[in-house]
């Protein structure tokens, strides 16, 4: 079982992004996913900056993968995708546009591609997918069924830690709750380093708003399921970046690394985010 750090889903300041990845160089993870998945307006880092981070992580022995935008609408977004794909990099495809462009080269099928059965998985495998990230809403039995049908050589990665990406919209919710719209957003999503928590009218944390993305308020934490996932045939666990105001992320990585080495008592530090932790590969925050 290996560990990865998923793409940074939030809009952090440039210096914080560099510091985050610099710390990862010595962290016990095999793979790091880079790039912007949520909003193409976020450009604190240029492609050259990402390339520089990639070089440092590669030099530190990490596998580096570039994640592509999940919701692709504009021509400029397709052009940016072409530039990423034409570089000498492995991509995580989060839209069929990326699969179409990656054409036959090895790639990772991202969590937003809707892979729910063996036929779809084999189709993507034939097109070059070497690893796939299970959709977040797949429950354990469905994941087990799918693992039984996967083609040879196809690795399975599971989202194991972080606020869960649940939905994407054309609308920017971070802007909306501040009475703005997307064209006039002033990058207000940057104020929410781990997303903006939305509560029910009974003050129960429900969602987190992150630009055009809606997430769970709860942080999924599968550390207690590591041996179960390992036994089921999952080869990689994804830890989704959070800021140090939410959790000491280096300690999260260390806890998962211990769990992967077989230490059943390994525990993550508490999350300071209002939703707390939820467990189980199923989305069962309330059960």
């Amino acid at each position: 079982m290996k560990l990865s750090v998923g793409p940074l889903l939030y809009y952090w300041e440039r210096a914080d992004v560099f510091a985050f990845y610099r710390a990862l160089a010595s962290a016990p993870v095999e793979s790091v996913y880079l790039g912007e998945v949520v909003c193409s307006k976020r450009r604190a880092l240029k492609q050259a900056d990402w390339a520089a981070i990639a070089s440092e992580l590669t030099a530190a022995g990490k596998e580096v993968i570039f994640s592509t935008l999940a919701l692709m609408e504009a021509e400029s977004e397709l052009a940016a995708l072409s530039r990423i794909v034409s570089g000498n990099v492995t991509i995580e495809a989060n839209d069929m546009a990326a699969v179409q462009l990656a054409g036959g080269r090895p790639f990772v099928a991202g969590p937003h591609l809707n892979v729910y059965n063996g036929q779809t998985l084999r189709l993507l495998g034939a097109l070059g997918a070497r690893r796939w990230v299970a959709p977040l809403e797949l429950d354990t039995p469905a994941l087990a069924e799918l693992l039984a049908e996967r083609p040879d050589g196809m690795e399975c990665e599971v989202f194991a830690y972080g606020r869960m990406p649940l939905a994407f919209s054309a609308r920017c919710f971070s802007a909306r709750v501040r009475r703005r719209n997307k064209d006039d957003c002033s990058f207000v999503c940057g104020e929410d380093r781990d997303g903006l928590t939305v509560y029910t009218r009974e003050h129960e944390p429900l969602f987190a708003l992150n630009g055009v993305q809606a997430q769970s308020a709860q942080v999924r934490n599968l550390i207690d399921c590591v041996s179960e996932l390992d036994a089921a045939g999952v080869q990689m666990l994804r830890l989704s970046p959070h800021s140090h105001t939410a959790v000491p992320f280096a300690e999260v990585i260390e806890a998962f690394a211990q769990a992967v080495r077989g230490q059943r008592t390994a525990q993550c530090p508490a999350s300071a985010l209002p939703g707390g932790y939820c467990s189980g590969p199923m989305l069962e925050a309330r059960r």
């Binding site: 609408e73 069929m96 809707n114 189709l123 977040l136 054309a170 064209d183 009218r201 809606a214 309330r286």
Partner: protein, 337 residues
Amino acid sequence: MAERGAIELVCPAGSLPALHAAVDNGADAVYLGFRDGLNARNFPGLNFSADDARAGIEYAHRRGARVFIALNVYPRPSRWAAAIAAVDAAAGVGADALILADAGLLGYAAERHPEVALHLSVQGSASNWRALQFYRERFGIRRAVLPRVLSVAQVQRVIERSGVQIEVFGFGSLCIMVEGRCALSAHVTGESPNTHGVCSPAHAVRWQERPSGRQARLNGVLIDEFAPGEAAGYPTLCKGRFEALGSVMHALEEPTSLNVLDILPQLLAAGVSAIKVEGRQRSPAYVAQVTRALRAALDACLRDPAGYRPPASHAAALERLTEGRSHTLGAYSRPWQ
């Protein structure tokens, strides 16, 4: 001048009477699903048996209308056999097209039933021409239904470059998330459009009367509370009132319906092939009224796009059928985004 038939009015049917209502009131095509939990309106008491579908197709064809069958959930391995049986059944009853989302199922249908036209469902989440190129080259799709995330200008770009017919939503309940990529309902109820063909399912809804008002809960989660006398809407997750930044608000979207009556000429000019009406869960009477209104508006627009004004009586009829008596252009209009 564009002719009738240059743009199709595609209307929903959850039952044979609804199909009759759509055809009788001017639908060019009707879409429906089987009673097997494999389509995106998996509601109790709704949908068609194979015999009903056959009867409906015969009724429609005799009156010059087409019938599409939607099989647009993403089947997990244990449901695969049922899913391909449904594809075979849809081809067997003579559907004019299958509306599919899952790439594996599209592959199966393209190989096994090459004579049947394939439409990419809105649940397929294809929001750009590159993604559509993928589905066209792999499976030969003829048409795609676009997610409700694009502005009119973006719809036009997709049409110019995708090489397939484009169908867009024109009226009905509004999904504000990219269809096929929304797990809000899964998060709260364990069931979602992708896996179960339902969003905020009725069996998870509880209404509770409290002194402060009427509470609408979904699997126990408070989605909204309505003051005495306030109109109470169905607790769809993305239309709930929540607390954000210390204020109670419709953080994602207010209860509202999509209505493109005002921008029909722009959609026509953009080159859309079909306008789709949401609502297979609606009554035959609703289907009849919406179909009649949109038929009249489309005919007026096709006759004289430059001089088009939404027909007042039909616009009023549609307004009465909207959620929360309010309508929006959704993402077609940039400021909405």
